[in-house]
């Protein structure tokens, strides 16, 4: 039995093609992935990402627990500030990648991946030596993502919160359609936009109001298909693809979320050892040169020999190229390396390129 997001009926009424995503019945697409992708890059798109999990850590020593379980330096966060971070095992691999929101000194709100939320909760609870209250609160929140250059104008119609004052990776608690909401200037598309956390019972009302508010901008409901092509162009990691329990942040190009000056944290010793011994494989982007599309899991060859694997790959609607990310031995993981991606037993020429593939115009 698939877990149902609160808006399942709304999506079906919009003609969405629904799929099983990590045990959740989610919209894959409505009008089409290319159409939805373009709407987000050029105007505004609306995503229901209510499957995402939330975990809250409260208590006088909440910061101590957050600092221990995550690799970024949460001591630097001010109230209303957010950062991307790694939840790591002792062996340095990812339990998950997360967004840490500091609500107050004694309250941190984590946004975690849908299929990892129970595992993340168990992991955090098992590390809780500071008597914090750890709550697996995913069922209390729906999440809607309004993304694209017209996202601010769209959402602003529905809230008294001055959205322009919320800087990137900051949030405010306020109201949307008169309903309590946490409004964060974050996203998973490479565009400007907001992620709105609210009670599931209000999700349908707010979804419909956003669709109406964005009508003049040609807002499109967007599914997981476009979410994936957008995040891939932006070079953002997806758990189970670029990162998982066997991959460390140093390999994944995410050393920027490992803060060596913050003191000890779970996984630190292994990361230090890996850094000292040298990082053997690294994530790098690629573009197909020959005819063919490199996709998730395909083998990558260099000099005719197996060298790595594609973590995510497919067409880039914005760049009109076939792109992807792959792991390669560190010495090959430099832009400009000639590689081959094995597409249905045929090696097809490709070349490594830097990540990200796309940056929004400032």
């Amino acid at each position: 039995m698939l877990k149902q997001i609160p808006l399942g009926d709304v999506h079906r009424a919009l003609g969405a093609k629904m799929v099983d995503f990590g045990g959740w019945e989610m919209p894959l697409q409505y009008t089409g992935i290319l159409d939805e992708h373009r709407a987000v890059r050029t105007s505004v798109g609306l995503f229901d990402v209510s499957h995402m999990g939330e975990i809250e850590i409260r208590g006088p020593q909440a910061l101590d627990l957050v600092q221990w379980v995550s690799s970024n330096n949460a001591a630097k966060l001010a109230d209303g500030q957010i950062h991307y971070s790694g939840l790591l095992y002792e062996h340095g691999g990812f339990v998950d990648d997360i967004l840490v929101h500091r609500v107050s000194a004694g309250h941190y709100f984590l946004c975690v991946n849908a299929s990892n939320q129970d595992k993340d909760y168990e992991h955090i609870a098992s590390q809780n030596r500071w008597d914090c209250a750890v709550e697996n609160s995913g069922s209390r929140y729906a999440q809607l993502a309004v993304q694209g250059p017209r996202a601010l104008e769209t959402l602003q119609k529905l809230t008294p919160v001055a959205l322009a004052e919320i800087r990137y990776y900051r949030f405010r608690d306020g109201q949307v359609c008169g309903r309590d909401a946490r409004i964060a200037r974050t996203g998973y598309t490479g565009e400007d936009g907001f992620e709105v956390y609210l009670a599931p019972g209000h999700a349908a009302e707010v979804w419909n109001a956003l669709m109406e508010a964005g009508r003049e901008f040609g807002i499109k409901p967007c599914g997981l298909g476009a979410r994936n092509t957008l995040r891939m162009e932006a070079g953002m990691a997806l758990y189970g693809h670029e990162i998982d329990a066997s991959i460390t942040p140093l390999e994944a190009g995410l050393e920027w979320i490992v803060k060596w000056d913050k003191g000890d944290f779970c996984g630190r010793a292994r990361l230090e050892k890996q850094k000292a011994e040298g990082i053997r494989r690294r994530l790098i982007g690629f573009e197909m040169r020959g005819r063919g599309i490199g996709r998730d899991g395909y083998e990558v060859r260099a000099g005719g020999q197996p060298a790595g694997w594609v973590t995510s790959g497919g067409p880039s609607p914005t760049l009109n190229k076939n792109i992807g990310m792959c792991y390669l031995p560190a010495e090959l993981a430099q832009p400009g390396t000639a590689i081959e991606v094995v597409v249905r037993d045929q090696p097809v020429e490709a070349v490594t390129v830097p990540i990200p593939f796309y940056r929004r115009p400032k």
Binding site: Q29, G32, D35, G225, N228, P317, N322
Partner: protein, 126 residues
Amino acid sequence: MSYPENFRYTKEHEWILVEGDTGTVGITDHAQKELGDIVYVDLPKPGAAVEAGKTLGSVESVKAVSDIYSPVSGEVVAVNDLLATSPEKLNEDPHGAAWLVKIRLSHPAELDSLLSAADYQAYLGE
């Protein structure tokens, strides 16, 4: 979109229109809708031998790769070059301009096991 009466269909959502000893093969409107935005089509070269029920090529949407199965056995005598440059035509005109290949039939009796338009639509539950 309607399913032409003079086509024969497979349960894997290919169609074939036979004229003389040659059949034109494509994928059905249902197939293109299920696939979504088609971005790449991989087809055999003229002269290739194909076998009924075996892989003829593949169609890729933004999201996924799907194999195409040959409805009949024979030899590929023509390939639709349009699809190399404009794979999106498969979303627009799957029963017409976006045909995939033409096959000279080696075992015309295989056609008897294919579905009529009515049977195919019943199979789709339409």
